[in-house]
């Protein structure tokens, strides 16, 4: 832990130094707009999609990517430019709408984000004619709710910010703009509510994001893997979501939210395991219903993790645990199967994973066929061929269904992986193996942290007063007490 933090700090310092060096270099060459222009042209050579418009009499060159800008605005601007004399250029450009840019990195960022860059002899100017083209707001595919808002984030970070601003109507909502990456810079916005989110956490997450030098981070879900503390853990540590309402809720809860441009996902931090077990639906329901659903989810996690493993353990080692009434069924269904239960279970679980993955990759229309084919293969044929037993199919199906109950796709995937571990362990030592696995899991989970906040927060360390907000879904009236 501590080692990690030290490394972080060191990295951070390095980064800072680098930035300082670069900016001081810039300062020297900032004699005129021309020098920037030279560098600009050399940086962007071989970019055939770069368009240029020149006004020789005004000594003005305008560069832009034609597909990134709003043509109408640009045309209007040109018509205005055509009317003015060389003397009027400077006052015209001092218009606050146009931002003077002092160094190359700003220019690069501006033009790539869809601005038009205007070079005079003295200065470079950013003309904000971005075109907000992109996917329109649509319901979320990964996090569906029945009760609650149906809009989801899109790839455009501006739209996403607007979705959040609309929900958190307060001047206290602060945003910090950061960049990650070396060559291809990506913009990350950190959002928090002042006075609710912890300043320490904010500094920490800033440091971490700034210390990421890698390029090719294309999505929030990738980014968070660069900044988490336990990269080798199968469990997700940052909560990522597509839903603006979740984000707004988390921010009121004191969490810091990160948005990345061109990614429809936002991350929240610091979060605990129980944040992954929450769905916006819980809040739409009556609190008793919501609590019941939440408890169902915990049971579902246990079922996913342990049900198949328990089947293997009982049929392989602990026959005495089977009640009298269940014995004939179990014996009959097992009698034709030539493999030991572990192999049988692993085979079926693997088949189910294949089916799931195939369903996710295939287009929706073909995807339905996969369901039917899989259902027949797994449900009927495997039993009749004597490869698996009836009971196992029920067990595997139940644990698969239970895994879908987990609201977070990330967590659900982690748990499915961990389940294989349990099945193998139970194949070796039966119940003892399950308990051993449970021991490892508990120790691992309780040692995880997210932004130095324990992963199993309200349980360990114990904060019983938070139980009703995270373990169950407590009634709303009391919710107002929370500051």
């Amino acid at each position: 832990m501590r080692k990690d933090r030290n490394r972080f700090l060191k990295d951070f310092k390095l980064q800072k130094d680098q930035i300082r060096n670069i900016t001081s270099d810039m300062r020297e060459s900032k004699l005129a707009g021309e020098s920037i222009l030279e560098q600009f042209i050399s940086d962007f050579k071989n970019s055939s999609d770069l368009s240029v418009t020149e006004f020789p009499h005004l000594t003005v060159k305008i560069y832009y990517f034609s597909y990134l800008i709003n043509k109408d605005h640009y045309e209007q601007f040109l018509s205005m430019l055509r009317k003015i004399t060389p003397d009027e250029v400077q006052p015209f450009l001092s218009h606050s709408e146009f931002k003077a840019l002092s160094d190359m990195s700003d220019v690069e960022e501006a033009i790539l984000s869809g601005s038009v860059i205007l070079f005079t002899e003295k200065q470079a100017y950013e003309l904000p004619f971005q075109e907000g083209k992109g996917r329109s707001i649509a319901p979320s595919e990964t996090e569906t709710v029945i009760l609650g808002a149906h809009d989801a984030f899109v790839e455009s970070v501006d739209v996403n910010l607007s979705l959040i601003r609309k929900r958190v109507m307060s001047s206290k909502l602060k945003t910090i703009k950061l960049h990650v990456g070396n060559k291809a810079k990506r913009t990350v916005y950190l959002l928090y509510i002042e006075g609710v989110a912890s300043e320490n956490d904010l500094e920490e997450i800033k440091k971490r994001i700034l210390s990421v030098h890698n390029d090719g981070i294309v999505d929030t879900n990738m980014l968070v893997q660069y900044i988490d503390e336990y990269p080798n853990s199968p469990f997700p540590q940052f909560y990522t979501t597509e839903r603006p309402d979740v984000v707004a809720y988390k921010m009121f809860d004191g969490k810091i939210v990160g948005l990345m441009d061109n990614s429809p996902f936002a991350f929240c931090t610091p979060v605990s395991f129980f944040d992954f077990m929450e769905s916006m639906d819980d809040f739409g329901q009556r609190w008793i219903v919501g609590t019941f659903i939440k408890i169902t989810r915990y049971i579902a996690i246990l079922v996913t993790l342990l049900f198949t493993a328990l089947y293997v353990a009982v049929t392989t080692y602990h026959y005495e645990m089977i009640p009298q009434a269940l014995l004939p069924t179990l014996l009959e269904s097992r009698s034709k199967v030539p493999f030991p239960p572990v192999i049988e279970a692993l085979f079926l679980e693997f088949l189910l994973e294949l089916l799931r993955e195939a369903g996710a990759r295939l287009p929706t229309k073909v995807g339905q066929t996969i369901g039917i084919v899989g259902g027949i293969v797994i449900g009927q044929a495997a039993v009749q061929a004597g490869i698996t037993s009836n009971i196992l199919i029920i067990v595997v199906a139940a644990s698969a269904i239970a895994s879908f109950v987990v609201p977070s796709y990330l967590l659900s995937a982690s748990i499915r992986i961990v389940r294989f571990g349990f099945i193998i362990l139970s194949g070796f030592w039966g119940n003892l193996g399950i308990i051993f696995g449970m021991g490892i899991l508990i120790i691992h989970l309780s040692s995880l942290t997210n932004l130095n906040s324990p992963y199993l927060l309200p349980i360990s360390p114990m904060y019983p007063k938070f139980f009703k907000y995270s373990l169950i879904r407590g009634p709303f009236k009391k919710k107002a007490e929370r500051g």
Binding site: M321, I322, L432, I434, T449, P454
Partner: protein, 361 residues
């Protein structure tokens, strides 16, 4: 929620409880019946009070020294004086921690996993031990709380025995039958051992030190008392004496509609409790050795301790040997539990006097 390096009172209580409750629980009712005879469960209360007094002693050391840790207090002595004492204590704690686990594994083999070699069982235990010990105490305490939740439900299984419970079976006789108060009493006392490790971490508890320690011991005592009391009403007295592991029989008597005879499962779950006992004793050993040999890196020390433990665990060959070993070790451990705080108390008072004298001069 920033990480605090101090234990909350709740964590401390849970820690104490999990160190205390070990393998003895499985035959505690029989031990009590052998030692105190009929209605021996009353005797447990007396023993629990003795433990509380000892905890009070430990707290007194803490209070008088104004929140210093044991190692700070002892640092007025030169290292060569503390070396033999610390080596002895560390040795006793290491052996106790190891043999508790060995005994559990051996019982596990006798009852459920007769054909699994002891090496495998112990390796599993030591892997988990390593995973816990490489963290600091605060982290261990975090895991402890989750393990506590994971194991505490087994206590509620006692409710399944209520239909067979009968007060008539308790008999009106108190402490009658063939009793062996002294030796048996010490034996039962050792079931509550583990609390003495609190002397190493009492200064890390945030607040309410005494209360949290006593609460921890009370949880253990209540669970022990509950199990023993239920056993007295569930079994007839003679039967209780003949039951080798009455609590295993109790667990085995439970039957759910979907599963029955879950005793091997619950027994394995108890293994995690035993694990915590081992972990904390080895932690104590590690702390003492670390103090004594500051130069050795803590990871190397830890691996060293684990390797020694691993090989030590194969010295006794059968349960009888382990029991023999455990008897002597627990006697030594009981002596440490009482003498160490007294020694520290004297040291603290002595240092204070010395300081006052030097201040007066």
């Amino acid at each position: 929620m920033q990480m605090k390096e101090k234990l909350s009172p709740f964590q401390a209580s849970i820690l104490i409880y999990l160190i205390q409750s070990g393998v003895t629980l499985f035959f505690l009712p029989r031990l009590v019946a052998e030692a105190f005879g009929t209605n021996g469960w009353i005797g447990l209360i007396i023993i629990s009070i003795i433990v509380n007094m000892n905890l009070f002693l430990i707290w007194l050391v803490f209070k008088i020294s104004k929140g210093k840790s044991m190692l700070e207090i002892i640092s007025i002595f030169p290292k060569w004086i503390t070396l033999p004492i610390f080596l002895f204590i560390a040795g006793v704690w290491l052996l106790l921690g190891v043999f508790v686990m060995v005994k559990f594994c051996m019982i596990l083999r006798v009852l459920f996993f007769g054909n699994v070699s002891l090496i495998y069982l112990l390796s599993m235990a030591y892997i988990l031990t390593y995973m816990l010990l490489k963290m600091d105490l605060y982290q261990i305490a975090k895991s402890t709380v989750v393990l506590f939740y994971f194991t505490i439900w087994t206590v509620f299984l006692l409710a399944f025995h209520l239909p067979e419970f009968s007060f008539i079976r308790l008999t009106p006789f108190i402490f009658k039958g063939e009793t062996d108060m002294l030796k048996g009493g010490v034996n039962i006392f050792t079931a509550l051992l583990g609390y003495e490790l609190s002397i190493l971490f009492i200064h890390m508890i945030e607040r309410k030190q005494l209360k949290s320690l006593i609460a921890g011991n009370t949880i253990t005592s209540i669970i022990y008392l509950g199990v023993t009391f239920v056993s007295y009403g569930f079994f007839s007295f003679e039967q209780l004496i003949r039951e080798m592991y009455p609590v295993v029989t109790l667990l085995g008597y439970i039957s759910f509609p979907v599963l029955e005879r879950v005793e091997n499962f619950t027994f394995s779950v108890f293994g995690l409790k035993v694990l915590m006992t081992t972990v904390m004793y080895l932690w104590g050993t590690k702390e003492l050795l670390q103090y004594q040999f500051k130069k050795i890196k803590s990871t190397i020390l830890l691996i060293g301790i684990l390797i020694i433990s691993f090989f030590v665990s194969f010295i006794p060959k059968v349960i009888k040997d382990v029991e023999q070993w455990l008897t002597y070790i627990t006697y030594a451990c009981t002596a440490i539990a009482f003498l160490l705080p007294i020694f520290l108390l004297i040291t603290v008072l002595f240092t204070k006097k010395l300081n006052r004298m030097s201040a007066n001069e």
